[in-house]
């Protein structure tokens, strides 16, 4: 049926990712770090897409995570990764717990628009309260320390990469557990038959609310990690177009699986790097055209291409064995 266990290719991919710093040049490592960092918020959006709900407002949690780090650095001089990562995630989760109370009552277009409205309020606040947030200039974020120590410059990039990879690994494990639990299945069931859920004695609102908190936490986690990686955060993190980008990446990679968003995030970062090199003026158009192509020809995303190939491969394999 619907697969909840990691396929072989994912394990191969994991090995490749772990070996990456030893083989690839530094700029590719940077892209991979960024992709791994953004992967979580894309996964967060993908969770809701499985339930048939679109969130055009995940920039809210992304910005909360990033600016928690920004404020902590600016005012408390905090630089410790082991502190900032849980702090940013927690702040985002708290925001999600508050906003989720409201959001759980809505579906469809209203869910998308309400999400959007909340994130835009935060965007407006981040923009206007410039004495706090740096306004359009944003905030600088210095590289974080691990247990007080700053990694030496030669391996700095590599250590941040491994930190992000490790966290991503943890997230993947946690989400697989979540999806295998009754809550994870109810989430999928929500998109198919809410009536049956209510008539089973379970509360659809509760399912959405709990997922919302998890989703928000993941969004905040992404914000923290991206702040570390990029070193500079701006109010645009909460803008609706940023949120739209997350939905796009979820679609690009395929939101029906857990590796999908990761594949999408990596592909997206590479596309963006090349687009900014060859067609910097037309980035939005490039994005739009690719999205159109995917929607019209491959709505399952890149991951379904892999699944189709894998399916055909295993069929041939089985055929060779029995034939």
């Amino acid at each position: 049926m619907w697969s909840n266990r990691p396929p072989l290719a994912a394990l191969v991919g994991a090995v490749l990712l772990m070996a990456a710093p030893l083989v690839v040049p530094s700029w590719i490592l940077f892209i991979l770090t960024l992709a791994l960092a953004k992967f979580m918020v894309v996964l967060a959006v993908a969770l809701f897409l499985r339930a048939g709900l679109v969130s055009f407002g995940h920039g809210l949690f992304y910005a909360v995570g990033a600016y928690t780090v920004g404020f902590a650095v600016k005012w408390a001089g905090l630089r410790e990764a082991l502190l900032l990562v849980p702090l940013g995630t927690l702040c985002a989760a708290v925001v999600a717990a508050c906003v989720g109370v409201v959001m759980a009552r809505y579906r469809g277009v209203f869910f998308a628009m309400l999400n959007l409205a909340f994130s835009m309020i935060v965007y407006a606040a981040l923009l206007k309260l410039y004495w706090l947030t740096g306004g359009t200039d944003g905030l600088g974020v210095r590289p974080p320390t691990f247990l007080g120590a700053l990694p030496p410059r030669t391996i700095a990039r590599m250590s941040y990469y491994y930190m992000t990879l490790a966290i991503a690994g943890g997230v993947i494990y946690a989400v697989y557990r979540f999806l295998a639990s009754p809550l994870g299945y109810f989430l999928k069931a929500l998109g198919e038959n809410e009536i049956r859920i209510e008539y089973s004695g379970e509360s659809a609102r509760r399912v959405i609310y709990l997922t919302y908190i998890l989703s928000g936490a993941l969004g905040g986690l992404s914000g923290v990690l991206v702040a570390f990686t990029v070193g500079h955060i701006v109010p645009e993190y909460a803008f609706w177009i940023q949120s739209g980008e997350f939905v796009f990446v979820a679609l690009l990679g395929g939101y029906g699986s857990v590796p999908g968003p990761l594949v999408g995030a990596i592909a997206f970062e590479f596309i963006r790097t090349y687009a900014s090199k060859y067609a910097p003026e037309a980035w939005q158009m490039t994005l739009g055209l690719i999205m159109l192509a995917i929607i019209l020809f491959r709505p399952g995303g890149l991951w379904t291409i892999y699944e189709a190939l894998a399916g055909r491969f295993s069929q041939r394999w089985r055929g060779a064995e029995s034939g």
């Binding site: 049926m1 639990s181 038959n193 008539y199 379970e202």
Partner: protein
């Protein structure tokens, strides 16, 4: 029948839709273990009655008591938690999941809130129970297959199995044989009634098919214009001329 024994009791249950009285001061009492058939022409109020009892629709006046508890105005979810389960005329299934997963979700929902969210859905006690339920409903061979592969009779049975898995005290079935082919009708009902009798669940089913009602129910309620016009054993009720005119004459 004393109130403590009555599993369901409605008192002056009334509901109108745009000037039409779909339920007109209905007073009905049902005891534990009964097998009741509800008949009536289209628009006679039988579906409204079902909707009122399961909380899908709120009454204008009157009360609903389940084993003495006042259920009036509660949401479908709360009513389900109190022990009334319902199956649907159009089967309400999780179409993207397997047959077994559908049952597992019902079991998860019935197990109480905190238990459902930790640990996997595929856990041993539930796997065993779901296998048992599917077996009793004759769906074991479809267990790992998608819901989409079920034949129409199978979909109906699964829909009822999902409600059954909640271990309700009272099970309401809305037209269990509608959409099922004539050959399969009796097979479906045989399976159903056998399972329900074995589990000692009070059952109410709304039906259009007189033969089904006659064969399987032990008590029949006839609805007409939002009121119960007859209430008794199937043979005498369905033989009554007035009843036949009301139920069959207008169809």
């Amino acid at each position: 029948m004393a109130d403590t024994e009555a599993i369901l009791r409605t008192i002056d249950l009334t509901r109108s839709f745009d000037m039409v009285k779909a339920a007109d001061a209905i007073n009905v009492t049902m005891g534990h273990g009964e097998l009741v058939g509800i008949v009536g022409a289209n628009g006679s109020g039988k579906t409204t009655f079902l909707n009122l009892i399961t909380g899908y629709v709120k009454p204008d006046h009157g009360r609903i008591l389940m084993m003495g508890h006042d259920c009036t105005g509660l949401s479908p979810r709360r009513i389900t938690k109190l022990g009334i389960a319902r199956s649907f005329q159009v089967p309400q299934l999780y179409t993207g999941l397997s047959v077994r997963e559908n049952v597992l979700l019902s079991l998860a929902a019935a197990s109480g809130n905190s238990a459902s969210f930790w640990g996997p859905l595929y856990r041993r006690p539930w796997l065993g129970e779901s296998g048992e339920i599917l077996d009793r409903f004759g769906l074991k061979s479809y267990a790992e297959r998608s819901v989409a592969e079920l034949p129409e009779g199978g979909r109906k049975l699964l829909d009822i199995a999902l409600s059954f898995a909640l271990k309700p005290r009272l099970l309401l079935m809305d037209e269990p044989t509608s959409g099922v082919s004539v050959e399969d009708k009796f097979q479906v009902m045989d399976t159903l009634v056998r399972v329900l009798r074995e589990s000692d669940i009070t059952t109410i089913f709304v039906e259009h098919d007189m033969e089904v009602v006659q064969r399987y129910s032990r008590r029949v309620l006839v609805f007409d214009n939002g009121r119960v016009m007859a209430d008794g054993d199937p043979i005498s009720v369905l033989a009554d001329v007035e009843v036949r005119k009301a139920v069959l004459g207008r169809e």
